[in-house]
Each structure stands twice: as C-alpha cells, then as structure tokens.
Amino acid sequence: MLFALCALAGLVAVLTLVDVVLQLVNNATPAISRFGLGFLWHTTWKPGFNIEGAGALIYGTAVSSLLALVLATPLGIAIGLYLSMMAPPRVRATVGPLVEMLAAVPSIIYGFWGLVVLVPFVLKLEPGLHDALGFIPLFGPPSTIGISVLSAGIVLTVMILPIISALSRDLFLTVPGELKDGAAALGATQWEIIRGIVLPSTASGVGAAVVLGLGRALGEAIAVSFVIGDVNAIHASVVQPGSTLAERIANQFQGALNNLHLAAMFYCGLILVVIGMVTSIAARSIASRFDVNRTLGGGVL
C-alpha cells in the first residue's frame, strides 16, 4: 500500500516531465509550422509583422552564459580549493555557508540590484575596458547606458559562482588524504599537490559542476531581463545591449500581440527545455564517470 503510494509519487515526476514537452510543443505548434527549424537562425523579431526568429536570442543566450562561465569557473574552483584545503576549520565553517548564501538570494533581487547598483558600475568600467582591451572586438566602444550583455554576464557570474564553488569544494574533500599526504611526504608543495593529485582526480566532477552552472545561466530569465535591455540585435561587442531566450519570454509574454507571438515564445521555451535536458544529461554522464573512478580508487585504497 505504502509501496504503491511511493511508486506513484515517483512516477509523478516522470509524467510531469513528459507533459512539459507535450504542452510546449502543443502551444508552439503555430510557430513551428510557420517558421520551422529556420526559427533557430533567423534573427528578425517583429511580432507586429508576424515575423519571429530566435537567432539573436540564441546568440545572446550563448554569449552571456559563456561570459559567466569564463568568469565563474576559475573563481569557483579557486574558492573550492581554498575551502577544502587552505582555510582554517573555523574560517571554512563561516565562509562556506556564506558563499552558498549567494545561491539563496532570489533572482528578482539580483535583477533589481543589478539594474540599480551594478549597471552604473559597469558604465564606469566600460571606458577602461575599451582602452585596455579594445583591440578585441568583444570590448567595443563604451555604450551610454550600461545595460549590456556584459552586465548580464556579471550578474550570472555571481549567481552560478556558489554552484560551482560548493560542488567543487565537496569534490576536493573526497580526494583521499593518503594521496595528498603521500605527495606531501615526497616533498610536493601545496600547489603541486593540487595540480598533480587533486585536480586530475576530480576533473570530471568539476566538469559536471561547470555544466550544471552553465545550465542555470542559460535558463535564467528574471535577473537577466533587468540588465540586458531586450534588444533584438547581434553585436560583436559585449558592452552593447542584447537579449536571451528566457529573458525575452519574461519581457514580452504578458504583452503578447497575437497567437503567433505567444507561440513563438513557447517555441523559445521548447528550445530552453531541450538545452536544460541536454545539460542535465551531460552533467550526469560526466558525474557518473567520476563515480566509477572514485569507487575504483576507493576500492584500492
């Protein structure tokens, strides 16, 4: 009896997931039949003329998330190393939970804060960035508003930093002490232990953590909608405003002009579901490979 109840509860999750896909496909049908797969690369978004294409959105999603990943991955791994190997126990017990608190702050607050505090700061940062790194097309002439793909990337960095750092800290803590002590006994410095033992033996797990962070960044709607500007354009420069898939839905859903406009946003949602599922499966498969290595190593030791 209880068994049946529990099994049914478990199946709810599976059924919900299937229904999510069905429901999105169903509601996106007008847009799918009209635009087909070309939706993925056409860059015009003019709902008033019944023309919608997600090319610019996909580009903005990719650039803002990659920007966040480039910033958050080294930072997160460094924090994980500090918390697992360097911090005194008392510091670890305070700083660890504080870093995780970054993940508890709701995205609406990151958005509001980003718009009012971060955007003016980025505006001041942009001329310096252009002067120093202007030879890279990414850092073009400064804009006048500060609302930009760069601001979105920074907000996303802060949001995924706790995911990457907490997961990598937990991974680094699973490295057997015997290995680290052995290396230390051979005269390795702490950095040599990290580079030679800790990072190689947890690399795939850290990879999974990074993919999980990426998944979170790709699907973030509210925080990004405040700071990216919802401008349907592809710029090489990240200091220009842009748009992302999730952010477009948040910005235009309530003001949808017609059924096709609504369907186009369901189409965007469908793309997000596919992206989300791919990242979940990727993180899982990377992590399961890691589990195998761990049990092998653990079995020997």
Binding site: L2, F3, C6, A7, A9, G10, V12, A13, V14, T16, L17, D19, V20, Q23, L24, N27, L75, A78, I79, Y82, L83, M86, A87, V95, P97, L98, M101, L102, A104, V105, P106, S107, I108, I109, W113, V117, P162, T189, Q190, W191, E192, L212, L218, G219, E220, A221, I222, A246, A250, F253, Q254, F266, G269, L272, V273, G276, M277, S280, I281, R284
Partner: protein
C-alpha cells in the same frame, strides 16, 4: 627536482652554521608559486563574500527606510503609499498551496528511491533522471508549462496556477533532500526491524521516518524558501491581480511580493521604487533567515544521527 642544495657559505668560503635556513633556487621558486596560488584562492573566497555583502548591503541600505511595522501589516494605498500586507499574504498562500502538493510527493518519492526500489532498479533510475531534469528546467519554462496546462483551459490567471508551478520547482528539491537524509538513517535500524518481523511499511512509518524527520523538515524549509523568491512562474501564471485587494481566493489573481518588485522597479515614481526596495528587503531577510536556520538545524540533526 634534482637541484642540489646549496650550502650557505660564510666569510672566507667556510660553512656558516648560524646562517638562516631559507630555501633557495628551485625550491624557493616552487614555494613562491605555492604561496601565490594560496593568495589567489584566498582572494577568490574573499571576492565571493564581498559580493554577498555588496548585494545584501545594497538591498539593506535602500530598503531599510521604508521598513516599519506598518509596512508589513498595512495594505497599499494608491500606487506608492501604505504597506505590502496583501502581497505578503498572497505569497504565503501561493507558496503554501504549492508546498501542500510538493512536500508529500517529494517525501514519498524519496522513500520510494531509498526504501522500496532496489539499488539496480530501472524504474528508480528513470525517476532519478526525471528529477534531475526537472531540477534543470528553467523556472520560466515551468511557468509556460502551467500556462498551457491550467491558465489557457481556465481562461484566467490564478494564484492556483502559480502554486502548481512552484510545486514543480519544489518537488525535485524535496525529493533529493529526503533521499539524502533517508540514506543517512543507519542500516542496523532497518535490520533490527526486519529481525523482529516488522512489515516494511510499518518500519518506514515508525522507525525510519521519525529518525529522518529533522533532515526532511530542513529540506522542506529550504524548498519553501526557494519557491517564495521565484518570480518567473508567478510572472507567467499570476500577473493579473487587483494590487490593493486582500484576497483568500487563490483561484483568481493573487498579488505576490516578487510581482510587486518586478512591476514597481521601472515605475517613474520614487515612492513606488522605495516600496519595492522595502519589499525586496523583507523577502531577502525572510529567505536568508530560513536558509541559515535550516542549516543550523540540519547540522544539529546530522550530529545527532551520527551518534
């Protein structure tokens, strides 16, 4: 690595035993590198803490001025005056309705995965995969799903639709938290119950669940705190409401705190923006307190279970 240690030579080329024992050459280089890495890692951790302080302070500094008792017990007057009581009440209603659905389902799912499914069960594997994917769903997509499932057939946005969307956000969190706590319950409790000939379901209800209760409760608090701050599902499913009404009818539009913030931010009225900052502060403080409390409680119940 085969650098020969250099002898420290004193005046006249003789070995000086009083010279300080500092590393030199290759060893010195390696130790400096290790020191640099240490400094970088410490700076990174400091950066994360500073970011938290900047965010919390940013909200605190702008929200504290509107924070009075009347702010949380009064209903709004006009576009900018009064308090946010009906928004807080609405958030409580919507999140509570979602929790009533998600928490039992999550606990039962956790029980199935740990107590009833074998370690090699294929069904359990599929359920775990589904939970992972559910947690990986962007919350705006959850909102779209419920819009198609409930809002379109009912022809009206409602707090109830938002509740179901939040339930989908909470379910995987709750299932995973329960699963993790249940795995911590020592196996000898199960074996002792088996040896006494107790039914599996009775073991679960009277032995396993009570000993995991603390951990499950903290998981529930964390899931609820997460749902309370979610904006995207509420924006899609429950964005049309009477902003001044105090309502208990969740089958129509219900005002919520995240929506108050979302809609007030770009209003050209400074008082409305100030009220949004106040609401943001209330929301953030509630969520952070719930998180800190749950953590302390979890650490305690873990310690108890370890004994």
């Amino acid at each position: 690595m085969s650098a020969t240690p250099e002898l420290v030579l004193g005046e006249g080329g003789l070995f000086d035993p009083t010279a300080p024992l500092t590393p030199s050459g290759n060893l010195r280089r390696r130790m400096v590198l290790a020191r640099i890495v240490r400094v970088i890692a410490t700076a990174a951790a400091l950066f994360a803490v500073v970011m938290l302080v900047i965010v919390v302070y940013g909200v605190l500094a702008r929200g504290i001025s509107s924070l009075r008792l009347s702010f949380v017990v009064q209903t709004p007057q006009g576009l900018a005056g009064g308090g946010i009581f009906n928004y807080l009440l609405g958030t409580v209603e919507v999140v509570a309705a979602g929790a009533v659905i998600a928490l039992p389902l999550g606990i039962l799912t956790g029980l199935y995965l740990t107590e009833f499914a074998g370690p090699r069960s294929r069904v359990a594997g599929i359920i775990k995969l589904a939970l992972d994917m559910m947690q990986g769903l962007p919350t705006i997509v959850v909102g779209l799903f419920i819009y198609g499932l409930i809002v379109i057939p009912q022809h009206t946005q409602s707090g109830f639709a938002a509740s179901i969307a939040l339930a989908i956000v909470m379910l995987p969190l709750m299932a995973r938290a329960s699963q993790e706590v249940l795995l911590l319950v020592p196996n000898n409790l199960r074996e002792a119950a088996d040896a006494l000939g107790v039914n599996r379901w009775r073991t679960v209800l009277t032995v396993i669940l009570p000993s995991a209760l603390g951990g499950i409760a903290t998981g529930a608090i964390l899931a609820i705190a997460r749902a309370a701050g979610e904006t995207a599902p509420v924006l899609i499913c429950d964005s049309i409401y009477n902003p001044n009404a105090t309502t208990f009818d969740i089958f129509h539009g219900v005002p919520t705190v995240p929506m108050l913030i979302y809609t007030s931010v770009e209003l050209p009225i400074p008082e409305a923006v100030a009220r949004a900052w106040g609401a943001a502060l209330v929301l953030m403080v509630m969520i952070l307190i719930a998180n800190i409390g749950a953590r302390i409680w979890l650490a305690r119940s873990r310690a108890k279970m370890g004994q």
